[in-house]
């Protein structure tokens, strides 16, 4: 037991400068890119606490370069001293924020329901609507991904005007559902086809109907994929600007429209813009940090077969 029998050869144990150099290069690349990704977010968050002179001098580090002030939050009526007072700005902001939340959640949920059902059907049964078979129906759904929003925008403007759906949340929800449904179908089809049909066969033998088997057995198994699809839809619908800018004016404005309209009017008061932008990006940053694994899973769904 005194002599070690297996050991690394001397060549392996020696100091290898090229290996360390490679390591250092990889970390350097990763750190630089992480900085590029994070700095704008950091800049926005800190700017909402800067007074005008701090912005002018380009101060960066709070408590070192400048003393943080609640300017950004106050401009939205959300700072400690204004939060209990009446504030029209805050009412306005909360209304937009709430619109965004409702529209994003409802349209993602609706797209998830419709899309999962369609994806399940297409992965399990043969359909024929007149000349269209399964492959054609799938293509019909997925091809909507190519459709640029601008093609639908103006016809919808006119249609919604006729239907009195202009400037309503329902109108936006329907349109957003349409834009994210192909993505949901893409992810969920992948998900369902990886689940063996023996599961349903066993359930059917035990006396469940096919819808019963779908709801009680298949959906729980496909839950991770559904979460991924839901989050991706949420990202796209929360950030959507183009349709919201065209189809809403006063009632159903979403947060991105509010951010965009602020940049145009009044001389830019940086802290309030920064606070608004922070409010627009923070929810999804939280989602990204907490549910990163699902997002990556969802995006990888189409990539690797």
């Amino acid at each position: 037991m005194t002599q070690q029998i297996f050991r690394d050869s001397d060549a392996d144990r020696a100091f290898r400068p090229s290996w360390f150099l490679g390591r250092a290069a990889i970390y350097a690349v990763l750190l630089v890119w992480a900085f590029i990704c994070l700095f704008p977010i950091y800049w926005t968050l800190t700017t909402s606490f800067k007074a005008a002179p701090d912005v002018m001098q380009g101060n960066l580090v709070p408590w070192v370069d400048f003393e943080p002030k609640m300017l950004g939050l106050r401009s939205l009526g959300l700072s400690p001293e204004t939060i209990f007072a009446e504030s029209t700005v805050r009412a306005e902001f909360l209304k937009r924020f709430w619109n965004s939340v409702i529209v994003a959640l409802c349209s993602s949920a609706l797209a998830l329901v419709l899309g999962s059902m369609a994806a399940y059907g297409l992965s399990r049964f043969n359909y024929r609507f007149s000349f269209m078979k399964n492959a054609d129906i799938s293509f019909f759904f997925l091809s909507q991904l190519i459709l640029p929003p601008v093609v639908l925008a103006l016809p919808f403007l006119v249609l919604y005007k006729e239907l009195a759906l202009l400037d309503t949340r329902i109108g936006l929800i329907l349109l957003y559902t349409l834009t994210v449904m192909p993505i949901v179908i893409w992810i969920m089809r992948d998900q369902f086809s990886s689940i063996p049909t023996e599961l349903e066969e066993a359930a059917l033998v035990d006396g469940l109907s096919i819808w019963g088997a779908f709801v009680t057995i298949i959906l729980p198994i496909a839950l991770p994929g559904m979460v991924a699809a839901f989050i991706l839809s949420l990202v796209l619908t929360w950030n959507e600007y183009f349709f919201a800018a065209l189809l809403t004016s006063t009632n159903a404005n979403t947060l991105p429209v509010m951010v965009a309209s602020q940049t145009g009017s009044q001389g830019i008061s940086w802290w309030s813009m920064a606070a608004l932008s922070s409010a627009a990006i923070l929810p999804l940053i939280l989602v990204a940090i907490l549910l990163e694994k699902y997002i990556i899973k969802g995006m990888a769904a189409g990539a690797v077969k």
């Binding site: 960066l60 059907g121 049964f125 249609l159 929360w238 813009m273 990006i281 999804l284």
Partner: protein, 369 residues
Amino acid sequence: MVSTEADYLHIVTADNISAARIRFGKTIMWASAALLCVVGLVQYLDSQGIVSLGFETWRPTLYAFLIWASCLCWGQVLLYGERGKLALFVLPAALFAVAMVVFPLIFALGIAFSNWNLSSPTGRQFNGLDNIRQMWGDPFYWNALKNMVWYTLAIVVEYAIAFGLALALNAQIRARKFFRVAFLLPLMLSPVAVSWMIGKSMLEIRFGPVAHLVRELGFDQISFFGSPEMARFMIMAMDAWTFIPFMMIMILAGLQAIPKELHEAAEVDGASGWRRFWEITFPLMLPVSITAILIRIIFKLKLADIIINITAGGPGGATDSVTSFIFREYRDRSNVGYGTLLAIVYLVLIVIAMTILMKLADRWMRPRY
């Protein structure tokens, strides 16, 4: 609706469908279809002023459509029993998509050949091919199309960067989760917020941090959106910033699916890292890369938010994308007809280009080894 041959999941059921049930199913389907037609026709006559019933909106037709859609779904179950229930998986999504895509597209074709200014009292006037003639002579539209080609070509650079980052993330590193989350974040951000955060504040010439940095580096005369080339480059860079994570994650997923044995075998055979990359990793990544690039192109063709909010197409239309151009065309002149025609021409071009690309991709993806 559902054919019985060779399902992936075969279901045998003994349905006892009575004649009365079939009759009832057929009745509600046809009755609701008739209702839809009648309501639509009455509303059309009303809007033309032939009969006057005082409809404010087209909502009744919408409700009639909803009733018809529900009856169609119900009718499937009544007529075909269990097999009809299977149709219910796809039918709602299909009806929704048809109502929201196919119908508006047909409607759009109608608008595209008319002069329709929403703010003018005269309403819609059919003007034949005038819009096409106007488009032919519109230098700004062709300019926007040319810009789209440039923007699309920028994807090659984005792809190279994304591939490099994916390789770095795939190496044996510490704190991988931190880097993955950090790299993912730009994709989560709203383009409008990004256009303020970066475009309007960080690139601000007097006191934005990037301007500071550039001045420190010794360049004096800087203006990020002054010259056409520079402005276009900045837009490309910002769009790349938000979308590189997307490509990176797809490529990373592909890299992780490559079996390690291949690399080990090549290493035993004495291949250098550089050759291992070009002869093993890259060829194996080709299908994933092509998928990622195609999806990226699709998203790139929708590019508009950043442009609308930062440059509004300027200077001199140098940064215009087709979408942002049509957006301004509508905002400035509120001419729905012309804008729709431009959009439809764009759609036709996209469909042609994507079909060719997909055919080529299909050929490239065939394994040659």
